[in-house]
């Protein structure tokens, strides 16, 4: 419990830092003295929404990865290695092309439904595969994702939409403004639902037979989990684009430290996800000031390094 309080304090500190890092000069002094109306505006319209978005998206994506790993019973699965994210992007493209007037919430729901369909397809393929080596599972997901991405980009190329597709594929928080990130609160609500159902997901992580033995309907638990994961992924992609590696590395790091009893580990995963996204975004804002590196890139670098460490460590552990 003390550890959790410390972790929460760390996230709050990073969030506070995020408020005061950027091109415009926003400091506590300028805000309090009221000397600069512009600084207050920047804080309210850009910095606070951006910081909330970072925290919500980070926690949501990390928890989504955790849920998917429990349901697929595989440590290498996350929304971007299970066809979920790619399907959500496909949904965003379709709704933008076919019904461009749709409001943000509607777009997100269409993307969510597509994400759900893609993930169900992924799990369906897994069910039919005779040999389920742990490494084959994410490879199947990555291949499925590549096929979906290929169709997305073909359509996008035909209709001159490649730039939008790139924006959904690469996470970037620089465009987050007040009025354009609020969907992520839906993601936060869903993360809370995931916490309420944490025991069910842990039981599902023990396998279908254990789940049935303990009197739970496995199919129903999986459905609940997939709906949460799909909608959170869709909300994040619709607001700021895909954040790679997050759903993979955070649950794995926490699993090593705290185990997989989701009632205990989920708060850690959420806090760690939020903290990592905040740190990567702040770094992206500082490295080539006054310009920015999108979080898709910084997280790609940090994430792949941590992932390599986990892989090498895991092999040593297994041997």
């Amino acid at each position: 419990m003390r550890g959790l309080v410390l972790a929460a304090a760390g996230v709050i500190a990073l969030a506070a830092a995020s408020l005061f890092v950027g091109v415009s000069d926003v400091t506590i002094g300028t805000i309090l003295s009221g000397s600069s109306d512009e600084a207050t505006q920047v804080l309210l319209v850009s910095r606070i929404p951006r910081t909330f978005a970072l925290v919500l998206a980070g926690a949501g994506m990390a928890v989504s990865g955790l849920i998917l790993q429990m349901l697929a019973r595989n440590k290498f699965v996350e929304p971007s290695t299970a066809g979920t994210a790619e399907s959500a992007v496909f949904g965003m493209l379709m709704v933008t092309l076919l019904a461009p007037e749709t409001a943000m919430l509607g777009r997100m729901l269409v993307a969510g439904v597509c994400a759900l369909a893609g993930t169900v397809l992924f799990l369906g393929i897994l069910r039919r595969m005779p040999l389920r080596s742990p490494l084959i599972v994410p490879l199947v997901g990555i291949m499925l994702g590549a096929v979906i991405t290929a169709s997305t980009e073909f359509v996008a190329y035909r209709f001159d939409m490649l730039q939008s597709v790139r924006a959904w594929e690469t996470g970037d928080f620089s465009g987050v403004l007040r009025g354009r990130y609020e969907l992520l609160w839906i993601g936060a609500a869903l993360t809370a639902v995931a916490y309420a159902a944490a025991d069910r997901f842990t039981v599902a992580g023990l396998g279908e037979d254990f789940t049935t033995n303990l009197g739970l309907n496995h199919r129903r638990v999986v459905s609940l989990g997939l709906i949460i994961v799909s909608l959170v992924t869709a909300a994040v992609i619709a607001t700021c684009g895909m954040i790679p590696f997050l759903g993979l590395i955070v649950p794995n790091l926490i699993s090593l430290m705290r185990g997989d009893n989701m009632r205990l580990s989920l708060p850690w995963v959420a806090l760690f996800g939020a903290g990592l996204v905040l740190a990567c975004d702040i770094a992206g804002r500082l490295v080539i000031r006054p310009y920015e590196i999108p979080i898709g890139t910084t997280m790609g670098i940090v994430g792949s390094a941590i992932f390599l460490y986990l892989l090498l460590r895991k092999n040593r552990h297994a041997a």
């Binding site: 039981v203 396998g207 049935t212 033995n213 303990l214 009197g215 997989d260 009893n261 009632r263």
Partner: protein, 252 residues
Amino acid sequence: MIEVRNASKSYGETLVVDDVSITLPAGGVISLIGANGAGKSTLLSMISRLLPVPAGTVTVEGMDVTTTPGDVLARHLSILRQDNQMTARLTVRDLIAFGRYPHSKGRLTVEDQGHIERVIRYLELEAVAHRFLDELSGGQRQRAFIAMVLCQDTDYVLLDEPLNNLDVKHAVAMMKLFRRTADEFRKTIILVLHDINFASCYSDRIVAMRNGRIAHQGPPEDIITPCVIRDVYGVEANIHEIDGKRVALYFR
């Protein structure tokens, strides 16, 4: 009482359970024996609703296992299959605590804690209770799984080859524990066993399967005979009686 009526199940062309009808009375230790592929595990899975029952009916205490809500059944009957692969990193204590899920839905009461502590003590898991499952030996993990199922505290406990991975000492301790659970707590323990001598020494009743059918059933003295063992396994066995228990020697 568990009643199986005309239950059948096939995988593709092969009939694995062939029109089985059997009544298993409540109370005591019942062992299911038979050669590999005789249909023991499939029958156990059908009784415990892990597999659908495509033909026939299975009732536990009068409840049809295919229609009774899963959470109701989970308070009357528990099942542990063999070969449990576990990717989730849980501590032994957390795993065992999940055995209480059908009763408390995750909010452990004082009574639940009592069950958990008692099972940990009975299975001598105190020293590893705080360790993660993936840090344990195969035998310790097997005992943790059995502990979880016993913690569920159901009237019927079904175990598919529970002695897997256990050394002689722990296998004997496990069988004694099943005996004690049946005698003291009036439970019905149904085991799939490969070691017919364990079945002989600890069961009240043995059910022998062959080719998806019930070939023989009865108390150990009726089943552990050269004739039945030849019929079920196709091997010649010498039967000796030691301390009032029948032991089959089939090593030559």
